[in-house]
Amino acid sequence: MAPQGDVVLEVRDLVKHFPLTQGVVVKRQVGAIKAVDGVNFELRRGETLGIVGESGCGKSTLAKLLMALERPTSGSVKINGQDMSKLRGKELKAMRRNIQMVMQDPYTSLNPRMTVGDIIGEPYEIHSEVAPKGDRRKKVQELLEVVGLDPDHINRYPHQFSGGQRQRIGIARGLALRPDIIVCDEPVSALDVSIQAQVINLLERLQNEFNLSYIFIAHDLSVVRHISDRVAVMYLGKIVELGRDNEIYDGPTHPYTQALLSAVPVPNPEERDSRERIVLAGDPPSPANPPSGCRFRTRCWKAQDICAEEEPLLQIRPGSAHPSACHFAEAHDVVHAAG
């Protein structure tokens, strides 16, 4: 199942710290929000990497770093072997053709003063070398058709469409430059339940049709599992576990992954009393001041002294074939634990 294609995206030791400053005239740095703090992964052609984690784990900052909307504090984002974080000006602009984005909220991600044709056609205006002027309208109409919208609606405005249709417009815009990679940041969570499946199907169809690679950021674990080949679990700026979808879902080794999976309500009332539930205490600590050693130790039931002293690295540990950042990594199937 896992695609064997070439690596299109390689992220190495990616760090983004937002400085916290004090003082009105002379600003001095008093600390930093460690939004993304040493993230490594790669993505192959045609592959989908799911990224799950709760608010504040850094997944949205990661998306912005991948899109070069933020400059990393350190580390690299290589697209087809070229480090995007080092590029500027024309080179960066040319590079952007390879990576595009679908955003969460279809109501705020489209400029309300532009027609659908202008919105989907904007990529061609910015990268005029992609499509000659005369072709653009036709190309936009093709894109509308590809995402399942009526090509005749090219002159309409976003507010004349429903949420699901607007998300399709956003997808068409992301598709226009025929990128290798599309970063999907919670692409269905703002949509009505009955519309979500339509958009997921569309994303999957487009992936097959155009051999796209997806970074699929979401908090809905069942959706992530459905669409992803591999899944990375993030907690406080770090990936704590990374593996193929069935490795993560059937044999999670990191306590946080286990807690996350067990917290997801299963749409089956027959299982409600037999399911194992790990309810974590408290809230995640602030990314401005993460705990020493393992960042999860303050909420972890397995924590020992070593967890405070030594940071567990994301590596393959005995008893499991996929990397986990826990000193006491141990596979434990929480989803099927019903006995």
């Binding site: 339940v193 519309i195 499946a197 459905h226 917290a263 009332p269 539930r277």
Partner: protein
């Protein structure tokens, strides 16, 4: 604290005390909205009931009327543009819609209370949380300031806010999303209501925090035997906590059943479609089942059955005849002309 509250007389008055029906009954409720573009029938004949200790899940997507029904029960519907054009809401047998505002205000909070999706905007940013929780006692019970503060701390303990004593004077923005939701729950249960309406209480929260909040609600319900109306669009949450479920679509209830019945064998094509569109492990790599089309526009409702443009079971009469809520068996209802086929699974 509990003794004090239980000695208070129930605000619904003596008349309702010996009522033998359900604790709360919504009966054929009709609510309209008057907008510039026309009249929207947001709630179009909704009937449901909740008993003490029972959890009713109201499932639906945006525009289905689930929140408007709840706001009407609470008496917090904006009127205008909203207008109640028919039906009854009986609390202990007393029709709330006929009560004078002063009477209803007594029921709000003490008889029926409500928590919302967005705790940050539901709390007042300029007052400490303890003061806001204590206000329930000061306003409804005339409790002294010192006493109200003590009760606020007790309640914050009860909803498991750590270090309640130290945090009672903190302001809402100083709490995390999950903690704010707990504060709102503390306010809602302060007067020991008999019915708690939770309108998407965990939609804005992370899953691990959602699990905490749902556990807290279940525990509070067990302790006080409240009736709980859980308004949500999340099929997982419903399966986890609900006893019975009302599925709403286009301002109507389309299926009403016990949770076990509905998940095992839905009797309405919309409920069936929702359940089938949940990604399942064995469907990996396959196309998901998707309900086609888009949710209806309340200003231009389809004729006949509102779901007919999206329905795989559709026949000609679905376009013309509005289906009544057919009795499937016992308390089970389905608003589909062809519910038998839906139950049998012979897709059209």
């Amino acid at each position: 604290m509990t003794e004090m509250i239980s000695t208070q007389s129930r605000p619904a008055g003596e008349a309702g005390r010996n009522y033998s029906g359900s604790l709360l009954e919504v009966d054929n409720l009709l609510v309209e909205f008057h907008t510039r573009q026309g009249v929207a029938k947001a709630v179009n004949g909704v009937t449901y009931s909740v008993d003490a200790g029972e959890t009713l899940a109201v499932l639906g997507e945006s525009g289905s009327g689930k929140s408007v029904t709840a706001q009407t029960i609470m008496g917090i519907l904006d009127m205008p543009p909203g207008r109640i054009t028919g039906g009854e809401i009986r609390f202990r047998g007393v029709d709330l819609l006929k009560l004078p505002e002063a009477e209803r205000r007594k029921i709000r909070g003490a008889g029926i209370s409500m928590i919302f999706q967005d705790a940050l905007s539901a709390l007042n940013p300029v007052f400490p949380v303890g003061w806001q929780i204590g206000e329930m006692f000061r306003v409804h019970r005339g409790t002294s300031r010192a006493e109200a503060k003590k009760k606020a701390i007790e309640l914050m303990d009860k909803v498991r806010i750590p270090a309640a004593k130290q945090r009672v004077n903190d302001y809402p923005h100083q709490f995390s999303g999950g903690m704010r939701q707990r504060i709102m729950i503390a306010m809602a249960i302060a007067l020991d209501p008999e019915i708690l309406i939770a309108d998407e209480p965990t939609t804005a929260l992370d899953v691990t925090v959602q699990a905490q909040i749902m556990e807290l609600l279940a525990e509070l319900q067990r302790e006080s035997n409240m009736g709980l109306i859980l308004i949500t669009h999340d099929l997982g949450v419903v399966a986890d906590v609900a006893d019975k479920i009302a599925v709403m679509y286009g301002g109507r209830i389309v299926e009403h059943a016990s949770v076990h019945e509905l998940y095992a064998n839905p009797a309405h094509p919309y409920a069936k479609g929702l359940l089938e569109s949940i990604p399942r492990v064995d469907q990996k790599g396959q196309e998901l089942y998707a309900i086609k089309g888009t949710p209806p526009n309340l200003l231009r409702m389809p004729s006949g059955c509102a779901f007919h443009p999206r329905c795989p079971y559709r026949r000609d009469n679905c376009v013309t005849d509005v289906p009544p809520l057919y009795e499937v068996d016992g308390s089970r209802r389905s608003a589909c002309h062809y519910w038998r086929e839906v139950l049998d699974g012979t897709a059209g």
